[in-house]
């Protein structure tokens, strides 16, 4: 197990460098001169522009620029400054917390609702419950987040408050603490819940057809134990992979949800920064997202090894 972990950690290093370099290149290959943009409509003074270029290392080769950047990030935790000299870390501060809260809320909902519904459907395969669950997942997959977001905001946020007088699901902002994340979290998790429900159903149904389930039954174990211990342990393995990989998606895909519910998160910031060509901010945010993605995948790999001994001993 220890060697497996170390090997996975070492494998993560080239991924980190490769991904950040790629992002760095793409962002800096975007058309437009950021120095010229600083001067707005005025023609920049060539001498001043040259000093600025020197200051931001814009005259150096791209790889050297990348090195300045990544060494700053890795060794000093310094994400650089934007072209208005505001530290990128200061711009990101607090926003990651909002997005992380949102994504984790969504992940927990996904795991509980998705796996729960999927198991329920699998155990009632072919019956009315199963059909209903499957149909509703299809609905959630087909309707875009934009629609579910606004509809749920209106129904559970606005109307529910009007009818009952109780403010259970805040409509916008993060003023109500953890409750602020319930509605946006559900909206963000919507399609993932639906996919996970289907995946869980298939996974458990398939597992229950396995030979070792027949063996467990032949051992005289109760149906509850056969499904709950022998079946579930095996059916969980693909679900963990899906959940782990989805954390990255949830964080990166929070732009729409954050906009609908006016959450000042990283998705919102990323959108604005791309719009304003604030390249250092974009690279900074994406680098951290990549880090989280790598970390989540590492955790998945560990869990995977923990759940499936066949992988652990390879």
């Amino acid at each position: 197990m220890g060697r497996y972990v170390i090997r996975r950690l070492i494998q993560a290093i080239p991924v980190l460098f490769g991904a950040t370099l790629l992002i760095f290149c793409i962002v800096f290959a975007l058309p437009g001169d950021p120095i010229a943009a600083l001067f707005g409509d005025k023609r920049p003074d060539p001498a001043i522009a040259e000093v600025l270029r020197e200051q931001y290392h814009l005259n150096d080769p791209l790889l050297l620029q990348y090195w300045y950047y990544i060494s700053g990030v890795l060794f000093r935790g310094d994400f650089g400054v934007n072209f208005a000299d505001v530290p990128v870390s200061q711009i990101m501060a607090g926003k990651f917390q909002v997005t992380l809260n949102l994504a984790l809320t969504a992940l927990v909902m996904e795991a509980v609702i998705g796996v729960g519904l999927g198991l329920w459907a699998a155990l009632r395969r072919g019956k009315a419950t199963d059909t209903m669950i499957l149909a509703s997942t299809l609905l959630f997959i087909s309707v875009p987040t934009l629609v579910t977001g606004f509809v749920l905001q209106l129904l559970l946020g606005v109307k529910l408050k009007q009818w009952t007088g109780a403010d259970i699901f805040p409509v916008a902002g993060t003023f109500a603490g953890w409750r602020s994340y319930l509605l946006p979290g559900f909206v963000l998790a919507g399609t993932s819940i639906a996919y996970l429900t289907r995946l869980t159903r298939t996974s458990l149904a398939e597992t229950l057809r396995a030979d070792y389930i027949r063996t467990a039954t032949a051992k005289g174990l109760s149906r509850r134990r056969v499904v709950g211990r022998h079946g579930l342990r095996n059916a969980l393995i693909p679900l963990v992979t899906f959940l782990g990989a989805d954390l990255g998606n949830l964080m990166g895909g929070a732009v729409i949800t954050e906009t609908i519910f006016n959450l000042q998160g990283i998705g919102n910031q990323l959108f604005q920064s791309v719009y304003l060509r604030e390249q250092p901010v974009v690279v900074g945010i994406v680098t951290i997202l990549v880090l989280i993605y790598i970390l989540a995948n590492l955790v998945v790999d560990m869990l995977y090894a923990l759940l499936d001994p066949r992988i652990r001993y390879e």
Binding site: K219, G220, S222, H230, R233, P309
Partner: protein, 348 residues
Amino acid sequence: MKKTSADVLPGLSEGGALGDHPLLAVDNLHVEFRTRAGIVRAVNGVNYTVNSGETLAVLGESGSGKSVTAQAIMGILDMPPAVIPKGEIRFKGTNLLQLSEEARTQVRGQRIAMIFQDALSALNPVFTVGWQISEMFRVHRGMSKADGLKKAVELMERVRIPAARQRVHDYPHQFSGGMRQRIMIAMSIALDPEVLIADEPTTALDVTVQAQIMELLAELQRESQMGLILITHDLGVVADVADKIAVMYAGRIVENAPVHDIYKAPAHPYTKGLLESIPRVDLKGHELYAIKGLPPNLLDLPTGCAFHPRCPYRQDDCVTDTPPLHEVSGTRSSACHYWREVLDGEHQ
């Protein structure tokens, strides 16, 4: 207090006197699978009995209903689609098919156990073999984890797995095929079942390992005097260990006989065909005999005797009349109208 099987099966005392009842009797068993394509008649009136210390080999090709019969005895058929419209399975005189699911669960694994063909897929990949063996003691005997593992080591030693004490914490994929089958066997005999059903236990193994496994089964049976039902399609496996043979074709028993009788002189054309299709060294160079035609379609069985389209002894009445099990001698029977001719070896 934990319920033992004696509580739920008042007629069944632990190791008590058998009286007139055989240990296990399958009587006129029918099993159907109701599928969209139609009714698959997998078992159409099977009769056989096993007594303590006796080995019954159930012989037949794929689809002959031998495994389905075994699964019906265990009560592990998926119902639906499987249905048992007729027949009885009597364990010490008690019809298992009339027991409640709870009572049935008490018999399953504890009194009647089963081992399966492919031990790799039949063992759970995510639990250690020790966990899986000791589960029998933890669940059925309320033993602690540590005591259960101790029992598991003992059992693994009994089926002669080397270094059992260390290997008890290994997972199924870390064992060789033969060792895995030994673990399967250890698990099945954990609670000293009175009947053990082995469904093609050696099919997935090398020939040398096959012999070892058969030897192990025979030895365990001698020690514990359990009734052993050995399901196989391999006549070679059967000869050394079985006391009697039931040959199945299209969901029916076509011949019941003590093992030496059947090898000497089969009383059913299908058995005869099976014996003749064994490769023999003294006939090297000759074309290998094969029963002509294909196994029957269980959705649409032939009329009369199901074997008639492939039978060299066929007469007109074979097409119309289903032959009953004729008594050939006190210990033998054959479901063939012309068993006398077959027995005499006369070709029509």
